[in-house]
Amino acid sequence: MAVSMDHTEHAGHPDMSNVRKVAMWAFLGSECLFFGTLISTFLLYHNTTGDGPTAKEIFSVPFTSVSSFVLLMSSLTMVLAHHAAGRKDWRRMRVWLLATAGLGLVFLSGQAYEFTSFVHEGLTVTTSPFGSAFFVLTGFHGGHVAIGVIMLLATTLMSFTGRLRDGEGMNVELVGLYWHFVDIVWIVIFTVVYLLQV
């Protein structure tokens, strides 16, 4: 198992940044299966629309493309925040963190709008297995984005207390990894759930 041949740290004083990143990547590996399960449930039911609207009838590709673009760009601002943090440029880091959180909120508003319009067009979680699977999948993704926004804001606030500088607490890199992961899940959802179904 190639994973395991990692360098041995001094047991008394392991490199905490490495420790946390191992944990974060393990968690993200686990999240692959979480979203894999949700996406597979959706694929199983993508044609099971009963009397309700179908994907073709209801999805708006232009609107979702703009949302996807917003989330994609939030990955750029996130990586710039991480870069600024690496150079201890705290002011710029905060700007990029807030920009990322802002783009995340725009994405969430788009999702709220999309959900509302779908409900008006007659698709709810109880309409068909398609509706259940769609809302639960994208809802869990949205929940992950919301948690990400909270973590971004918390990180920004904590940067004023000096804790980030000591390398304690949540650090920008970990939040960044989580945020990018949420973005790549959306890359898959956008293609598999939206573009392939219309």
Partner: protein, 99 residues
């Protein structure tokens, strides 16, 4: 092998360039859905482009190309296991083969 791989780390310029590439691929993806002539090749085209975006974000924005191999391996196990397991589940439901 535990230490970070010694490749030059990307600069903000590179990050912006990557964002432009990501945008271009997304635009191409959306474009493909509007071209009827490409209907038969649509699924493979879209999946390839989506995978490319995925790899770019993971490799550069998440630094996996430049970091310790242990991170990549942890992530890869989950990433590879997912399509294998659910490929089998969906196959057993008769999906992915016609239908």
């Amino acid at each position: 092998m535990g230490q970070a791989i010694d490749r030059p780390h990307p600069t903000p310029r590179d990050y912006v360039l990557i964002a432009v590439i990501l945008f271009a691929i997304t635009a191409a993806e959306v474009g493909v859905t509007y071209v009827d002539a490409l209907d038969s090749a649509r699924a493979p085209l879209l999946l390839t482009m989506s995978a490319a975006k995925f790899v770019i974000v993971v490799g550069w924005y998440m630094h996996l190309r430049f970091d310790r191999p242990v991170y990549r391996n942890l992530f890869l196990i989950g990433l590879i296991l997912t399509p294998i397991l659910f490929g089998a589940v969906l196959l057993s439901f008769g999906l992915l083969i016609g239908n």
